[in-house]
C-alpha cells in the first residue's frame, strides 16, 4: 500500500475514534477537509490522488478575489506566491511550492528540452522552487549598479535596458535601485557569520562535553558555552547523562561511516550485497589498548558509555594510536553507526515480516552517543565522547 493510502486510512480511523470518544479540540480532526481524490458514497476518498495533494500544496483561491485589477475565481489555483493573501482568501501548503501546480497544469511534469539561457538552466524542464528560479540569489551574478553580468559570457540574468532576461531574477529591482541580492538574509548580503548564528565567526578549540581532560589546555573555557544541551539540572532522562573525566569511561570514542552503508543503514542493511561486505557492528581498537585489555582480533566486546552499551566485533589495528594529551596516554576507539536490531538474526520475526537475505549483527551506535547539539547546526556531538571497552564474560 502506498504511504499516502496508509495515511488516508489512518486519518479515517482516527477521525472515527474522535467522533466516538471525543477529546480536546476534536474538531481539528473531525472537521478536517480531506478531499484528495474522488469519493465513495460514504463520503470517503476511494483512492488517494497525488495530483489533488500537489494542487493543495500549491494553493487555491478560497473565494473570488481581485488582485491588481484581475479577478481570480474561487477554486482556481494561485499562480505564484506573490498572490497569496493574508486575509484568508487563499490557501497554500507551502509558499515555496506556490507556482508548482497552476491552471496551466503540473509544472513539475514539464519536459521542455530548450535551454534559452545557454548555460544549462533548462527552465522548461520540470520545475523548481521558488517560482522556477534555477539559481537562487542570482542577483549576485550582476553588477548591482548596471545589471551587467560579472561573467558576460555566461550570464545567469542580465538587464536589457528595460527588463531582466535569463533566469527568474532574484532580489533585483531595476539596476541601481539599491536592493541587495541575498533577499532572505537579514543584511541582504552573503556572509560566513551574522544574525541567526549562535557561534562564530572564528574557530576556537573547545573540549567535547564528554572529554578526558579537566582543563582546556588552549584556553580557560573548557566546553563551548553556546552548545545546545538537554542535561541541565532536573531535566532530561538517562540518555542525556554524561560522564566527563570519569574513570569508568577513560577511552575516547568516535563514530563514522563505512562506504557500504548509508546513515543508520536502515536501507542499505537490507541490500544483501552490502550486508555481505559489512555485516556487523565493529569497534576499531589500537594494538596497545587491545593488549592491555586482553582483547583479541575478531572477538565480540562491549563498548559502554554512561548512557548504554553495544556489542561489537573487535578489529585490532595499528591504524589507531593512543594520544599523548598533556603527558597522559589516552586511547581512542571507533565505531560505525549503521547497525540496528531490525536486520539481525536474534530479532523475533513474526509471520509476514520480511527477513533480510543476509543478517547483520549489532545495535545502533546511538545507544552510546551523547545528545548535544552544535550551536549553529544542531548536529549532535557523536564524533567525540567517552566510553570503556570490555571483554564479554563468557
Amino acid at each position: 500500500m502506498p504511504d499516502g493510502e496508509i495515511i488516508s486510512d489512518l486519518f479515517y480511523r482516527i477521525k472515527e475514534l474522535y467522533e466516538e470518544e471525543g477529546g480536546p479540540l476534536k474538531e481539528a480532526v473531525t472537521e478536517m477537509t480531506w478531499d484528495y481524490g474522488p469519493k465513495d458514497v460514504d463520503g470517503k476518498v476511494r483512492h488517494l490522488d497525488a495530483h489533488y495533494i500537489a494542487r493543495e500544496i500549491n494553493g487555491y483561491f478560497l473565494e473570488d478575489k481581485e488582485i491588481k485589477g484581475k479577478l481570480y475565481k474561487k477554486g482556481t489555483l494561485v499562480p505564484s506566491f506573490a498572490y497569496l493573501q493574508d486575509d484568508g482568501s487563499t490557501s497554500s501548503g507551502n509558499w515555496l511550492y506556490c507556482n508548482s501546480y497552476t491552471e496551466k497544469g503540473n509544472m513539475a511534469a514539464r519536459r521542455g528540452g530548450k535551454d534559452s539561457s545557454g548555460i544549462g538552466l533548462y527552465s522548461e524542464w520540470a520545475w523548481c522552487w521558488p517560482v522556477n528560479r534555477r539559481i537562487i540569489y542570482n542577483g549576485a551574478s550582476v553588477d548591482p549598479e548596471t545589471g551587467r553580468p560579472w561573467d558576460e559570457k555566461h550570464p545567469v540574468i542580465f538587464w536589457n535596458g528595460s527588463k531582466w532576461v535569463g533566469d527568474v531574477p532574484d532580489g533585483v529591482a531595476a539596476p541601481g535601485s539599491g536592493r541587495p541580492p541575498f533577499i532572505m538574509k537579514s543584511h541582504g548580503v552573503g556572509s560566513i557569520f551574522g544574525p541567526g548564528l549562535a557561534d562564530g565567526p572564528f574557530s576556537e578549540h573547545y573540549e567535547p562535553l564528554e572529554c578526558p581532560v579537566e582543563k582546556n589546555i588552549m584556553s580557560p573555557q573548557l566546553v563551548n558555552p553556546t552548545i545546545k544541551r538537554w542535561d541541565k539540572e532536573g531535566t532530561g532522562t538517562s540518555v542525556d547523562a554524561r560522564a566527563t573525566c570519569d574513570p569508568r569511561f577513560p577511552i575516547i570514542c568516535s563514530t563514522y561511516r563505512v562506504s557500504e552503508h548509508w546513515q543508520t543503514g536502515l536501507m542499505t542493511r537490507w541490500c544483501p550485497w552490502l550486508a555481505e561486505m559489512q555485516p556487523s557492528m565493529f569497534v576499531e581498537i589500537g594494538v596497545e589498548l587491545a593488549k592491555n585489555k586482553g582483547i583479541k582480533n575478531g572477538e565480540i566486546v562491549i563498548v559502554k558509555s554512561v548512557r548504554g552499551q553495544v556489542d561489537a566485533v573487535a578489529i585490532v589495528t595499528n591504524r589507531w594510536k593512543p594520544f599523548n594529551i598533556n603527558g597522559n596516554t589516552v586511547h581512542e576507539v571507533g565505531i560505525p553507526w549503521h547497525y540496528g536490531w531490525v536486520t539481525t538474526k536474534m530479532r523475533e520475526y513474526v509471520h509476514g515480516d520480511k527477513k533480510p537475505e543476509v543478517f547483520t549483527f549489532g545495535d545502533s551506535a546511538n545507544i552510546v552517543t551523547p545528545f548535544i547539539g552544535d550551536p549553529n547546526t544542531m548536529i549532535p556531538e557523536s564524533k567525540a565522547f567517552m566510553v570503556n571497552v570490555e571483554r564479554r564474560e563468557v
Binding site: E276, M277, G298, V313, A314, V316, N318, V358
Partner: protein, 265 residues
C-alpha cells in the same frame, strides 16, 4: 583483434569495493551470509559467488608508521594459463582478446584448474558441481563496454584497454611512483591480462606470489608427457626429465617459458 588488459593501479585504490559489488551485480552473483572476523575484508576469499574481492592488509614500517593496503584480487587472465592447460573439457578457453573465459556448460567439475592456478582463482561450487571465476566480463567487452568492475571504479585505479597502450600507462605510473613501485603480471606466464601497478614491494602483498609457480604436474603432464606420448620417443622423455632435474620446476618469472618449450619439443 587486439589483446585487451585490465590495469589495477593499487596506488589509486581507496578500498571502496565498488568493483566487488559491480561484479556481483553484472554477473548476478548472490550474496551469502558473512560475519566480521576482525577485518573489513568480506567475503574472506574469492568464492564461486564472488569473483573479485578487495584484500585489506596492514603493514607497519616499525617506526609507528602504518599503511593500509587494498588489493583488487581477481583472475589474472594468463597468456599461458595453467587452468586452460589442464582443463580436459574445454570449458576454460582463451578468447580473441587474450582473456580466459569459461563455458560453464562444458565444465565437468573435475577441479583440475583449482589446483593448477598459481593465484587460487577458480572456485568450485559443490551445489552445481562447476567451477566459477572472473571471465573479464566477456559479455561486456565483446560489446565494446569495459568490465563492470572497471566501470564502477570511481578513482581510476582500474583501467581497461588495448594491451600495448595500457602497459605503457602502467610502466609510466610505476616510474612516476618511484621507490619500490613496480609493474606486476607482465613478466611471467607470457604476461597476464590483468596487470598491477604495485606501489609497495611485490613480495609483501597477501596471496600475491612474488614468483608465481605453476605446479610441476601441470607442466609435466600437459607440456611434456602429453605431446611426448604421441611421439613415444623414450630417449627424449629421459632427456626432458634430466632437464627438469637440472633446472627444477617451471619458474614462471622469465626463462621458465623456455623450460616448457624445450620440454615440449
Amino acid at each position: 583483434m587486439s589483446e585487451k588488459i585490465k590495469l589495477c593501479d593499487l596506488s589509486k585504490c581507496t578500498g571502496c569495493r565498488g568493483c566487488q559489488l559491480a561484479c556481483k551485480q553484472w554477473n548476478q552473483l548472490p550474496a551469502k551470509q558473512t560475519v566480521n572476523t576482525g577485518t573489513y575484508q568480506n567475503p574472506p576469499d574469492l568464492q564461486p559467488n564472488t569473483w573479485n574481492i578487495i584484500r585489506f592488509q596492514e603493514i607497519s614500517d616499525g617506526n609507528g608508521g602504518v599503511d593500509w593496503l587494498f588489493r583488487h584480487d581477481a583472475c589474472m587472465h594468463c597468456t599461458d594459463a595453467a587452468c586452460v592447460k589442464v582443463c580436459p573439457s574445454g570449458a576454460l578457453h582463451y578468447t580473441k582478446y587474450g582473456t580466459v573465459a569459461l563455458d560453464s556448460g562444458k565444465c565437468i567439475g573435475c577441479k583440475e584448474c583449482v589446483f593448477a592456478c598459481p593465484f587460487e582463482v577458480p572456485k568450485y561450487d559443490p551445489e552445481t558441481d562447476k567451477i566459477l571465476k572472473c571471465d573479464m566480463c566477456y559479455s561486456r567487452i565483446d560489446n565494446d563496454m569495459e568490465p563492470a568492475c572497471v566501470k564502477a571504479c570511481p578513482t581510476g585505479a582500474l583501467m581497461f584497454g588495448d594491451k600495448t597502450e595500457i602497459l605503457k600507462v602502467a610502466y609510466e605510473r610505476a616510474r612516476e611512483l618511484g621507490g619500490d613501485a613496480s609493474v606486476y603480471g607482465d613478466k611471467f606466464v607470457d604476461g597476464t591480462h590483468m596487470v598491477y601497478v604495485l606501489p609497495e614491494k611485490a613480495g609483501i602483498y597477501d596471496k600475491l606470489p612474488e614468483k608465481p609457480r605453476v605446479p610441476l604436474s601441470v607442466i609435466a603432464w600437459k607440456d611434456w608427457l602429453k605431446p611426448l606420448s604421441l611421439l613415444a620417443a623414450g630417449g627424449v622423455i629421459a632427456g626432458s626429465f634430466l632437464h627438469y632435474i637440472t633446472h627444477g620446476p617451471k619458474d614462471t618469472s622469465g626463462d621458465g617459458d623456455q623450460v616448457s618449450k624445450e620440454g615440449g619439443e
